[in-house]
């Protein structure tokens, strides 16, 4: 095993006043506990010189309303990415994260109002939603030989969320 990409994740839009312990645990499990366990297994199984890339989210830094748990989970994922990079560097394994902004996926369309999606598209410099291929290209960049010196980085893939 040379390459591990962590793309699992999901979110909901609870108000702070509506948070429940079970709801928090569910979203933390999906976005952070899974990522930490994948990092553990990567540390055990990825061959020397391998690559690990995790999908974070712009939510980790832009603090969108009604995404407190998701934002916290992704911020934790980014911290874990940096720790893992330090631990695995002696074996030549790089660990990086990609931080997409709003990306035009079926899940986004299913969970988000059209009005909110339009606002998301206007929020970045490119004035459009990202596409899955936009993000996949950035992930793939971390797997190239030219990226061998990059580890512990979190790279924005947001179309310029400035």
């Amino acid at each position: 095993m040379h390459t591990v990409i962590f793309c699992a994740g999901g979110w909901s839009y609870p108000r702070l006043t509506d948070l429940t312990a079970d709801g928090i645990r569910t979203e933390i499990d999906l976005n952070l506990v899974s990522a930490l366990l994948v990092l553990r297994e990567a540390a055990r199984r990825v061959t020397d010189g391998g690559r690990v890339v995790l999908l974070s989210s712009a939510a980790a830094v832009v603090a969108p309303a009604r995404q407190s748990v998701y934002a916290a989970a992704k911020a934790g994922l980014e911290a874990a990415t940096r720790v893992a990079a330090k631990e695995l560097a002696p074996r030549g394994i790089t660990v990086n994260a990609v931080r997409p902004g709003a990306t035009d996926t079926p899940t986004l369309r299913a969970r988000t109002s059209e009005r909110a999606i339009e606002a998301m598209a206007r929020a970045n410099a490119m004035q459009r939603l990202g596409t899955p291929d936009d993000v996949a290209g950035v992930v793939a960049m971390f797997l190239t030989p030219d990226a061998a010196w990059l580890t512990g980085t979190v790279l924005d893939a947001t179309g310029g969320l400035l």
Binding site: H2, T3, I5, D29, V38, E41, T105, T131
Partner: protein
Amino acid sequence: MSSSALVIGGGGGIGAAVCRRLSSDQHVVLTYLEHRERALSLAEQLTTSTRTAEAVRVMPPERLTPRAPLQALSAWVRCTR
């Protein structure tokens, strides 16, 4: 094809795009939770005479429990090549 790539969440929109991107030079194992049909279809599309891919279901489709992420790791046993 010299190595394998494990894509956790390969059935989702971004995950599927990552799988397509990687499949040209790595054997791809993609895991899925909610997007069964999409994941199986993708693995089939990515498998040709010169490249291979497989989809692995990692946990039941009901809501996650605190222990559920542990089940995701079962996919690793499929990635030992």
